[in-house]
Amino acid sequence: MKISELEGKAGLRALNEYKDREVESVYISDMVSDIITSAKRNSILITLQTHKSLIAAANLVAAAMIVIVKGRIPSDDVVELATRTGIGLFTSDLDTWTFAKKLVQLGLE
């Protein structure tokens, strides 16, 4: 599924301009040390975190998009950095579990 398709189906709000890529997997974590070791290329990262370190780590694992749950909004410099990397940055009002269930319903596992 493409990021843009997921954006519409999952009710996400885009925070930046992004490269529309095919997403292939999902990873949930609030720790960058965990993301660096375990997240996969073209993955969706689901997190509560909003700091720059998150983008720096997501870029190293070639994540496709980041979804920040519970309606949290990162600062402008974080959004700007995400745009530089091409990673799609989104926010969802849902909590992590509810959003994860939604992804499964959409066929992403």
């Binding site: 609030d30 070791t37 190293l60």
Partner: protein, 173 residues
Amino acid sequence: MSACRHDWFMCNLRHGFLVVEGCWECGARSSFFSPEPVPPIDEYHEGRHFWSYMGSFQTLKFDLECRACGTRVSLDDVNGLMLSECKDPDCQVGALNNQQGPGSLVYVALCADSTHTMGECVSSGGVEALNQYFNRNIEDLGRRVIVVPCKMCNSVDKCRGTVIVDVGLTDIE
């Protein structure tokens, strides 16, 4: 030179703390990795330095091993990675940043001694392996990760960047 087109994977993962110390005598900074569950905060005297605890962050260390030939590269001398945001044209890292197009980001591999007075920094073999590892499957994405040793910074203590450590965990509501 190895003929192997290395297929690196992370190994020997160690979770712990990146502990940062400062010398109140000369202003130098030092850092080390502590695998202890609680990071040490002792003050001590070492040569001309008087080290005081400045802070600690949860992080991890790892080595790289090649699936194809079994070569293992120790990254013990890498205390962290910092995404550089330096734009100073008089700094080698800043100049490198200024040359990059969209999608290419420069990361600085941080060694323990920011002053580099002993002439040591992250090994060239470690930097080369990190570059190969982080670029192994992103060419088609138009992205590039450039890892450089921190001795290329004019002053790593004053450099603009984001060190990859776990922060913000106390901010989560």
